[in-house]
Symmetry: C2
Subunit: 395 residues, 2 copies
C-alpha cells in the first residue's frame, strides 16, 4: 500500500516509516523539521543523535532497499500538500505532523496560537487536499487520550449511544482537554468527523496514550535508522523523561501526588497499532476512533518501575516528586475502553521491564548529551501562565 | 459598565453599541471592517447604506451624547488586543468579531482556513489578553445554535449530566456542527470552557439562533445609526434574505423541502438578551451557556409568513424552493432548551408580523441597491465542494 507519513522526521513518524517499509508498504513522508526546531527552542536536543534527513534517507535506502519519497514543506501550505498528494497518490495518510507538546502550547500566547494554528489548520488543509486529489484515501489521524480528560465515567472509543430524556442518538463522546495542545486535537477530531460525514472521506482517529521506548527491531540497531528521544520538560514523555533523569543521576520527578492515571504503550506497540489501522481501512464516510494504549498506570508506579530497572544498571535512582506545574486532577477515576485494536489483532507486548532495560541500554552511552542539556528537564512552564521552576515536594 | 464590543462595525455589533449606550453603559469597539470586505468578495453590499466608521462615530456622539471609543485593528494581533484591553479596561467583552457565514467557510480551502484561523485564533488571543490585562472581565462570546446540529435528542443549554454505565458526570453536551464556520464556534466553545476552568476566567457562551430585522428603537430612524442588512447567499440570514427577495420581485427560495427547523429571534430581542448577559455576569471560573432564540420554525413556514406580509405591501410574492446547496437534514427532530435567559428576565417580543412589516418598510426604499446586487442572492456554494448554481425545485 502507498502510505504517506506527515511528520516523518519525528519520534513516531521516522520509526513508522521503517516499520511500514519492512511490512512491504511503499512509503513517502512530509516534514519541515519542526520537531528539531521546537526542541531547540526548549534548550534541548534529542538524547539519541539524529542525522540530517539526507543521511537518514540514504541509510533507509541502503538498509531497507527502497526509497522513502520525501517532500520537505509546511503542512499548512495547501499548494504544497496538494502537489505531494497528487505526486504520490497515497492510499493511506498517517498524520503525525502536529506540534505534540502540552507544555509548549501553554508556554505563552504565541506558542498557544502556533499550536492550534499548525495543528488545526494543517489538518484542515489535508482534508481539503484529500477531497481534491485522493478522496478514497484513508486518513489515520493521531489524536490523544488527553482529548477526553479524566471524567468520572467510563470513556468509550470516540462514539457512544447517548440516552437523554427518553430518546437516543449516536454521538461523539464529550471531550474535556486540559491544554491548548490537547484542545487542538479535540478540534481536529470535530473537523475530521465532519469531513467524513459531509465529503464521504474515511478516517481512523487514534486516541493514543503516552508512548515510551527507544526503538523497534526493524531498525537493527543502525544509528542512522534510530529515532529521536526527547527528555526536556516539553517534548519528553513521562517514562522517557524518567529514564533520562536516571541516567544522569537526577532524581525522577513525578508531578504532585503522582496519582494521575494515564494509558501507556511502548513504541513498538504504537507501531503495531498504527500498521493495523493502515492495513484495515474503514468504509468511505466512516469516522472511527481507536483508543490506543496498553495498560493504565499511575505516574508514581511508573517512577518506581523505572527506579527498579535503573538500579539493575547500578544507577542509584531516587524519586523526588515536584510541585505540579500543570492544572490536572491528581486523584481521579479512569476507565477508558480499548477494544477496537484488540479486535483487529493487536497483541500487546506486556513486558515493560524488558522495554525499560532496552531504553537504559540505549541511553547510557548518550549520558553526556543528556548532561549537556540537563537544565531543559526542570519544569518551569506553569498552567496558570506564570513561568517559575517547580519546587521539590516531600514524598 | 465598561463594555467592549468586538466586531462593532457589524450587524449585531453596531446595534448593540447603541443599545448598551442607551442603557447607560460606556462602550468601546474593535473592528477591522472585515464584514464589509467579505460581503464585497461575495459581490454584494448592505441593502441599507452604511457610512464609513468616522461618520458613524460622529453620529453616535451627537445622538447618544457619548463617545464610542473605537480601536481599528485585527483581533488575531495579540499586541493590539492587549493594548486595547489595557487602555479601556473592559468589565465585559461582547465577542462578535468573527466571520459569521457558513457558505463563505465552505467556499474553498482558503475561506475554510481563514474562517477557522480568524475565529478560533482571535478568541484564543482574547482569552490570553483577558488573563493578562483584565482577568475579572466577563466574556460574552457569540456562538451559534448550529454548534449542536440537529440530533435526535433534546438539546440542553451547553452542559448536561451524563449518565453512563452507572456513573454520572457534568459534561459539555456533544456538538455536531455542519460547516467549517459552525465548527469554528465549536472549537471556540471548547477553548473558552478550558480558559474558565484553568484560568478562572468567566464567560457566557451564547448559542444564538438566526437573527432577523432591520433595527431597534434606540436608533431613532437616524440613517447614520442604522445597521447593515445583508441579503447575499453567504451573509444574508434566511428571513432577511426572503424579505430582500420579495422586495425585488424574486421568488423566495427556501432550500430543499424547507422543513429544516431552526430557532429564530428578532434583532431587538438579540439585543435584549445580550444586554441581560452583560448585566448579569457569572462567577469567576464559571462557563455558562445560553441558548438564545425565541421560537423554532421550519424554513417553509417562514417563507409563507414573509409572503403574507410582503403581499400586504402589494409585492406579489411567490415561493420557489431551490435545490439545497448544503448537506443537512431536511426532516428532523429539534427540541432545544431555552430557560436561562427567561430566568434572567428575557421577555420575547413574539410579534414576528410587525417585525416583518418594519423590515419591509425599511427595505422597499432600498430596492435599487438590492437590484444592483441581485446576482449575489443565487446560491452556488455547495457543501460537496463544487460550485454550481442551485436549480429550482417543484414545490
Amino acid at each position: 500500500m502507498r502510505v504517506l507519513i506527515t511528520g516523518v522526521d519525528g519520534y513516531l513518524g521516522w520509526t513508522l516509516s521503517i516499520h511500514l517499509a519492512a511490512r512491504g508498504h511503499e512509503v513517502a513522508g512530509i516534514d519541515h523539521y519542526g520537531r528539531r526546531a521546537w526542541v531547540g527552542e526548549m534548550g534541548s536536543q534529542s538524547a539519541i543523535p539524529i542525522a540530517p534527513m539526507a543521511e537518514r534517507l540514504s541509510a533507509y535506502r541502503e538498509r531497507l532497499d527502497q526509497n522513502l519519497r520525501f517532500f520537505k514543506g509546511d503542512l499548512c501550505d495547501y499548494d504544497f500538500v496538494l502537489d505531494a498528494y497528487r505526486a504520490f497518490r497515497p492510499e493511506a495518510i498517517v498524520y503525525l505532523g502536529e506540534m505534540p507538546s502540552a507544555p509548549y502550547s501553554m508556554r505563552d500566547v504565541h506558542t498557544a496560537i502556533y499550536t492550534q494554528s499548525n495543528n488545526v489548520l494543517g489538518t484542515l488543509v489535508t482534508l481539503h487536499a484529500m477531497r481534491e486529489a485522493v478522496p478514497e484515501c484513508h486518513l489515520v489521524k493521531l489524536g490523544t487520550m488527553g482529548e477526553y480528560g479524566t471524567p468520572n465515567v467510563d470513556i468509550p472509543e470516540g462514539w457512544f449511544e447517548l440516552e437523554y430524556r427518553g430518546r437516543k442518538e449516536r454521538m461523539l463522546f464529550p471531550r474535556r482537554a486540559g491544554s491548548w495542545y490537547h484542545q487542538s486535537k479535540v478540534h481536529d477530531s470535530h473537523n475530521v468527523e465532519m469531513a467524513c460525514r459531509l465529503w464521504n472521506l474515511r478516517s481512523t482517529d487514534i486516541m493514543q496514550g503516552v508512548v515510551y521506548g527507544t526503538k523497534i527491531d526493524e531498525q537493527e540497531g543502525h544509528p542512522l535508522l534510530a529515532t529521536r528521544f526527547d527528555f526536556d520538560q516539553a517534548f519528553g514523555t513521562a517514562i522517557n523523561r524518567f529514564c533520562a533523569q536516571a541516567v544522569i543521576g537526577m532524581p525522577l520527578t513525578p508531578y504532585g501526588k503522582g496519582h494521575q492515571k494515564r494509558g501507556f504503550l511502548p513504541l513498538r506497540d504504537s507501531m503495531q497499532c498504527l500498521a493495523l489501522a493502515v492495513e484495515n481501512p474503514p468504509e468511505a464516510g466512516d469516522y472511527r476512533v481507536f483508543n490506543q494504549f496498553e495498560d493504565v498506570y499511575d505516574v508514581m508506579q511508573l517512577a518506581e518501575r523505572v527506579q527498579r530497572i535503573g538500579n539493575e544498571f547500578e544507577l542509584g535512582v531516587k524519586i523526588q516528586p515536584m510541585e505540579n506545574p500543570r492544572s490536572e486532577a491528581e486523584q481521579h477515576y479512569y476507565n477508558p475502553d480499548r477494544e477496537h485494536l484488540l479486535e483487529l489483532g493487536y497483541r500487546p507486548t506486556r513486558d515493560m521491564d524488558s522495554e525499560l532495560r532496552s531504553v537504559f541500554a540505549d541511553l547510557i552511552p548518550q549520558r553526556r548529551r543528556i548532561e549537556e542539556r540537563r537544565e531543559a528537564q526542570f519544569p518551569d512552564i506553569r498552567w496558570d501562565g506564570t513561568r517559575r521552576r517547580s519546587r521539590s515536594l516531600n514524598r
